[in-house]
């Protein structure tokens, strides 16, 4: 039903999105926690910075990534010299772009959930001998699970759909950076490509549907876990 080229695109999209999620998750949660629980100078600025990829057009974000991570960019040059690692025009770069674009969505969802965690429970954990870190790990973290899952679903969907930043930063290289949206875009540019476009778009939708159902299942599994103090 699907051509080998299409399978390749799907596999690549999955790899890019999953790697993006895995890499972004800890950073997103850390940012969400900072924004939810700490006061510090420049907090609004950090908040704005996190929202940035949402506001500026994806193509510009891709361009900024290129300026920073391209082989002539400060970070890119460093990575290249230190590890022989190059992101631009590689699938890892597509994952970076997807992660950056997904970050604001993930942070917001997680932050909402962290803010909803009753601090009195954290205090109770401390009196029971838990260090700050253990109290975080055993109370705040699991109680903010709904936000983590919501953030992952949003972020995954956004990753699967990411186009502008990817094509600008990682280009549209078959087998390397041509993810589903890029493949769709390529087809859109040729007259009569509509049928193939529809098929690929449907696949993208199915991928996220699967992610959605997985998250619903996880939420239901954690169901008994009422989020309220008794």
């Amino acid at each position: 039903m699907l051509s080998p080229a299409e399978w390749e695109v799907i596999g690549l999209s999955l790899r890019v999105s999953l790697v993006a999620m895995a890499a972004t998750l800890p950073l997103a949660y850390a940012l969400a926690w900072l924004l939810a629980r700490r006061r510090f100078p420049g907090k609004v600025l950090l908040d704005a910075l996190v929202h940035l990829p949402l506001v500026i057009p994806p193509v510009v974000t891709g361009w900024l990534l290129l300026l920073a991570f391209g082989r002539n960019g400060p970070v890119g040059a460093l990575l290249d010299r230190a590890f022989g690692l190059s992101l631009a025009f590689h699938w890892t770069g597509a994952a970076l772009a997807a992660g950056v674009m997904a970050l604001p969505l993930m942070v917001r969802a997680m932050r909402l959930s962290i803010e909803a965690v009753d601090r009195r429970l954290v205090a109770a954990a401390r009196t029971l001998g838990a260090s700050r870190w253990r109290a975080f790990r055993t109370i705040t973290l699991p109680l903010s699970l709904p936000g983590i899952l919501a953030g992952l679903v949003l972020g995954f969907a956004r990753s699967v759909g990411e186009f502008g930043a990817t094509i600008t930063f990682a280009a549209n290289i078959p087998g390397e950076t041509r993810t589903l949206p890029l493949a769709i875009y390529t087809l859109l540019q040729t007259p009569g490509g509509e049928a193939a476009v529809t098929r690929l778009a449907l696949i993208a939708v199915l991928l996220s549907l699967a992610a959605l159902m997985a998250s619903e299942w996880l939420v239901r599994r954690a169901a008994g876990r009422q989020a309220h103090v008794v």
Binding site: L66, G70, R71, N72, I167, A171, N172, T186
Partner: protein, 236 residues
């Protein structure tokens, strides 16, 4: 003024031509730029526009077959040529326009990465691929090709030195000070590059026809040439 849906790659020149027309006392045309494919779909969906200007022969044919164009044949505004550019300052002699590149296309492509418009989709990429195939260079170039979503993006990569070379329109190269044209792609190696324009079947603005006439007038042609576009085949 009349509403014109135009390919984004024509922007600099078209703005100037429209200003020229307005300076002559006509109402200012409304110019909406986007990719040729987006414009074609907007026309199919019934866009309330008067004129389309595309960067692609395939989409104009598609629109004509769909009955969206007026009775008159589409007219080409200008042509273009492809050049291979390298990162670096442009020397005083305008090689892009003169074509005095001195290097062969193969030599200019070198061994490094080459940015081109997506050869499956973007018109400039399709022309580039056709030319390289004619020249027998495609199989060697394809593995190191960096496909972008439009020509400007390919040019930008060369300007930044993120790639070692790029194949772009001469009009793009002419506008940039940060790339050197290293070789000109012989225009016989690819199908003629066209910028077809037509009045839409549903056009309502009385200025639609006259403005299209202005677009193909010698005065407008001068503007296109100044922006690095090429004369129409068999014209110069």
């Amino acid at each position: 003024g009349p509403v014109v849906l135009a390919a984004a790659s024509l922007q600099g020149a078209l703005d100037e031509v429209a200003a020229q027309w307005a300076a002559a006392g006509h109402p200012q045309p409304v110019l909406s730029y986007a990719g040729s494919h987006a414009i074609a779909r907007q026309v199919e969906a019934g866009a309330p526009a008067d004129i389309v200007v595309l960067a692609d022969g395939a989409w104009i044919d598609h629109l004509r077959r769909g009955g969206h164009l007026g009775a008159d044949e589409p007219r080409d505004l200008a042509s273009n040529t492809l050049v291979v550019v390298h990162p670096g300052r442009r020397p005083p002699a305008d090689v892009a326009r003169d074509g005095a590149a001195g290097m062969s296309v193969a030599g200019a492509l070198g061994q490094g990465s080459v940015a081109i418009g997506d050869p499956q989709a973007v018109p400039a990429g399709r022309y580039a691929r056709a030319a390289l195939e004619t020249l027998g260079l495609w199989t060697a170039t394809a593995p190191r090709a960096i496909a972008t979503d439009n020509v400007r993006a390919a040019l930008a990569l060369a300007e930044r030195g993120e790639v070692d070379a790029a194949i772009v329109y001469a009009s793009d190269a002419a506008a940039s000070r940060k790339v050197r044209a290293a070789a000109r792609v012989p225009s016989g190696a690819h199908p003629p590059i066209r910028y077809p324009a037509a009045v839409l079947a549903r056009a309502g603005h009385p200025d639609a026809g006259p403005f299209l006439d202005h677009l193909v007038s010698p005065a407008a042609r001068q503007v296109f040439l100044r922006h690095g576009f090429a004369p129409l085949p068999g014209e110069d």
